[in-house]
């Protein structure tokens, strides 16, 4: 068995760094000792359809409800990449040498808000509901756990997952921000109880939910992580309108809105509040993609698709569009700066990522001529009816394609209808988005497998080589080997076949009251929402 949690030699550099850190930042750290008390007020732009994290996908549920729960593992709340896995209810874990058995040891003394003690029975019941849900019980992400053969609870503090094959992303999937641990007794009586009720082990207990208005949580005095949480409570205010959210932060009626604001909104808050506002920014685990329907001519020809991506001056757009829209980073299939992301110099070798835009566009024109596409060829670009960032990116795309003689007309379709049109193939070229709740190749790349496998492959192509590369990266437990497969996948998807392409990575901007401390932005607005380490400065 490989014990991930107790490899002593691996800890030496970390210990040295920690000691060095203590020497240099010790006095500073003493000055920023967390303060107890206060109520955090957060604006939430969306509201949940139900309270069940296993069933729903919206951040409108995660932001108000995550503080009531724990998960087995979680991403390090201080890690800006959102990829470092740390313990939550599972204290330690081991992986068998064949990579198929994960054994996790649970913390002792963890209590539900009703006083009952947590045991592996609760964890098993929760994961059984997620992985093997009974009929008529929704489990939104059960497809991500098809590799689980069995879940066992050999004793009160041990939970074992047996896999059908080794899976590189399995630990990350146990850190899913949706996989809240529920109480087994409640699930046994009514498996749908959690759709309308709250009972967790998290740092805050439930107080009230007034639909369309607010959600209130208060400090759990018996929280297992002694000394936490720091806040007395929190109040989530539901506000759909972004102008109202900005006004609330500006008037100091809300401390934060965790999803993010647009650049202009950030600038207006900074101008109005000065030092009273802190701005945290990060590449977002969402990218603005372009879907190309390969069943429509001439887009079945990869030379035409390549011309579309070669026309784009991504580096200029990164500088310009980031001033007006929530896009910024020039990126490949992984969020820049995260473990599997392609470094910028290597990325520049892909079609459309080079810095010499004149050369790229000359190549694009040559390819169009070769493909027999007439000068001034017209097509429709279907855009999603949401202003940010779809509208500015759409305007930019049309302008870029004009530079190589393509005449695209933008047709904007209401957001939910847009997805239906994409699924039905009623488009030629369209905006598309790929967002993940965690930065993990398995989640980020699944969409781009062949249409027979991926129901949201809107390009409607079949590519067995790509499918094979997906499986290889999924099973490669060695990080370097996995990285190679992810790069190969990326090259085939974006350069060799140009099945689809990214314009720019979304950019998350969270301007918040300077009083809010202990919270670090990550590329996902689903992560780091437990609020256990958050505190309010005076």
């Amino acid at each position: 068995m490989t014990d991930i949690g107790v490899a002593p030699w691996r800890s030496i550099p970390a210990i040295l760094l920690l000691l060095a850190g203590l020497v240099f930042i010790g006095p500073a750290a003493a000055q920023v000792k967390p303060r107890y008390g206060g109520e955090l007020i957060l604006a939430v732009p969306s509201e949940m359809p139900s309270y069940d994290g296993h069933r729903e996908g919206t951040f409108g549920m995660v932001h108000p409800l995550a503080p009531h729960y724990n998960t087995l593992l979680k991403t390090d709340p201080n890690d800006r990449t959102g990829t470092k896995i740390v313990s939550d209810l599972a204290e330690s874990w081991t992986i068998s040498s064949d990579g198929r058995v994960y054994t996790l040891k649970l913390r002792r003394g963890v209590k539900f808000h009703d006083g009952a003690e947590l045991s592996s029975r609760d964890v098993k019941a929760s994961y059984d509901k997620i992985v093997f849900p009974p009929p008529n019980v929704g489990s939104m992400r059960k497809g991500q756990y098809t590799n689980i053969e069995a879940i066992e609870a050999p004793d009160a503090s041990t939970i074992v997952f047996r896999l059908k094959w080794p899976q590189a992303s399995f630990l990350a999937s146990l850190a899913s921000p949706y996989n809240w641990i529920y109480k087994a007794d409640i699930l046994a009586k009514d498996v749908r109880w959690y759709e309308k009720n709250v009972m967790g082990t998290g740092p805050f207990t439930f107080v009230e939910h007034v639909k369309g208005s607010h959600w209130v949580g208060k400090k759990n005095p018996n929280y297992w992580d002694k000394g936490k949480p720091y806040l007395d409570g929190y109040r989530a205010i539901f506000m759909k309108d972004s102008a109202a959210q900005v006004a609330a932060v500006r008037a100091e009626r809300a401390h934060i809105q965790f999803r993010g604001f647009a650049p202009a909104e950030r600038d207006s808050l900074v101008a109005a509040l000065g030092k009273k506002i802190t701005v945290q920014e990060s590449p977002w685990d969402c990218a603005a993609w372009v879907a190309i329907n390969q069943e429509k001519k001439p887009f079945d020809d990869k030379r035409v698709r390549r011309a579309l991506t070669l026309a784009l001056d991504r580096h200029q757009a990164s500088r310009a569009l980031s001033k007006i829209a929530v896009v910024k980073e020039v990126a490949g299939v992984q969020v820049p700066g995260t473990p599997y992301a392609t470094p910028p110099d290597e990325l520049e070798k892909l079609a459309g990522y080079g810095r010499d835009i004149k050369k790229s566009r000359a190549e694009a024109r040559r390819l169009l001529r070769e493909a027999g596409v007439p000068d001034g060829f017209a097509f429709t670009f279907t855009n999603r009816g949401l202003p940010m960032p779809y509208e500015p990116v759409g305007i930019w795309l049309i302008d870029q394609w004009r530079q190589i003689g393509l005449n695209a007309t933008m047709v904007t379709i209401e957001a939910s209808q847009h997805v239906n049109e994409l699924r039905a193939g009623n488009f030629t070229v369209s905006s598309d988005a790929q967002c993940g709740y965690a930065v993990e190749p398995d989640l980020d790349l699944a969409k781009f497998q062949s249409k027979e496998i991926s129901h949201n492959n809107y390009g409607r192509y079949t590519d067995k080589v790509l499918d094979d590369l997906y499986q290889k990266q999924n099973r490669a437990t060695d990080p370097e080997e996995r990285k190679r497969y992810v790069r190969e996948f990326e090259r085939r998807l974006l350069d060799e076949e140009v099945h689809t392409f990214i314009t720019l990575q979304w950019h998350r901007i969270v301007p918040h009251s300077a009083k809010v401390r202990g919270w670090t932005i990550t590329p996902s607005h689903y992560l780091n929402q437990q609020l256990d380490a958050v505190w309010l400065a005076e």
Binding site: A264, E265, I324, E391, P392, G394, V411
Partner: protein, 298 residues
């Protein structure tokens, strides 16, 4: 002996033997505000036709080096969030406004007038049925009905024209019917009926020409309304799509976001809409005064 139906000139007395230039001169002298409105309308129409000759820049050309530039010698009305010249987009935007305005007003007023006159002519059950259908449409405010139609048909100039024209039809039908009810009782209509003319001929040749005055008034009034509705739909994201230059479209998105930092993005297109609608309304009101003998004060 066949009875010769009375012609439109003889009945209404609207068109006299005087030349149209004299008529225009009289209109300008008697109704200076209406004349100013008419002048702005004419300028708008000319600008929309000559947009490609007078616009200083391509309205779609982006210049990321000049994003959100203040009004200056290079860009008289500044630039938008994509560095596009605001003046050029307003000039080209007049094409969209005039196209939608004229198309909607023509379709709405014409179809409505035909329905109204037909309803008045046939009277009885036909009139009852048509009027109840019109009442259903009239129960909805103009913008709500337009929103409903555009959400069914989708966005784009063609659909916007249909969406705005449809709610105008019952309003035009109501006005035309009330005028046609009086005309229906005229002796020359009875005479035409007695002469054995077909319904179609009586409606088209004898009744419709006599509701021309209210038709023209409706046409000018609906022009302003249609421009305003198009701008409203585009502002709501349900009208024409970017990057087409359209006044309402220029007021949304980045114009709202940068309302404090770059107010010219919203002010100038807003002024263009207000001026055009005001001009059409002034002209329409004066035209109504001039064409409706009951409102003549002199």
């Amino acid at each position: 002996m066949a009875i010769r139906p009375t012609s439109v000139t003889e009945v209404s007395g609207i068109v006299s033997d005087r030349s149209w230039l004299t008529e225009v001169g009289d209109f300008c002298r008697e109704r200076p505000l209406g004349a100013i409105g008419a002048a702005v309308v004419v300028v708008n129409i000319l600008v929309s036709f000559a947009a490609n000759l007078i616009a200083p820049y391509d309205p779609l050309a982006t210049d990321y080096g000049a994003m959100l530039a203040r009004p200056s010698g290079a860009h008289w009305l500044g630039t938008d969030a994509f560095g596009r010249d605001v003046l050029s987009r307003i000039i080209y935007g007049s094409r969209t406004a005039m196209l939608v305005g004229f198309a909607c007003a023509l379709i709405g007023a014409t179809v409505g007038t035909v329905i109204g006159v037909t309803s008045a002519y046939f009277a009885g059950r036909v009139d009852l049925l048509i009027q109840r259908v019109m009442d259903i449409f009239l129960a909805f405010p103009l913008i709500i009905l337009a929103l409903a139609v555009v959400s069914i048909l989708g966005t784009g100039i063609g659909n916007v024209i249909i969406a705005i024209a449809i709610p105008m039809i019952p309003r035009a039908a109501l006005v035309a019917r009330s005028s046609a009810l009086a005309i229906r009782e005229m002796p020359y209509v009875d005479a035409a009926r007695a002469a054995g003319y077909r319904h179609q001929r009586i409606i088209l040749r004898h009744m419709l020409p006599n509701v021309m005055a209210p038709y023209l008034i409706m046409l000018t009034a609906y022009l302003g309304q249609a421009i305003l509705l198009e701008a409203s739909l585009s502002f709501l994201g349900l009208g024409v799509s970017e990057p087409t230059a359209a006044w309402g479209l220029m007021l949304r998105g980045a114009a709202v976001q940068f309302a404090e930092a770059a107010p010219w993005m919203a002010i100038f297109p807003g002024l263009a809409i207000s001026l055009a609608v005001f001009a059409f309304n002034l002209f329409g009101d004066s035209l109504r005064d001039a064409l409706d003998p009951r409102l003549k004060t002199q």
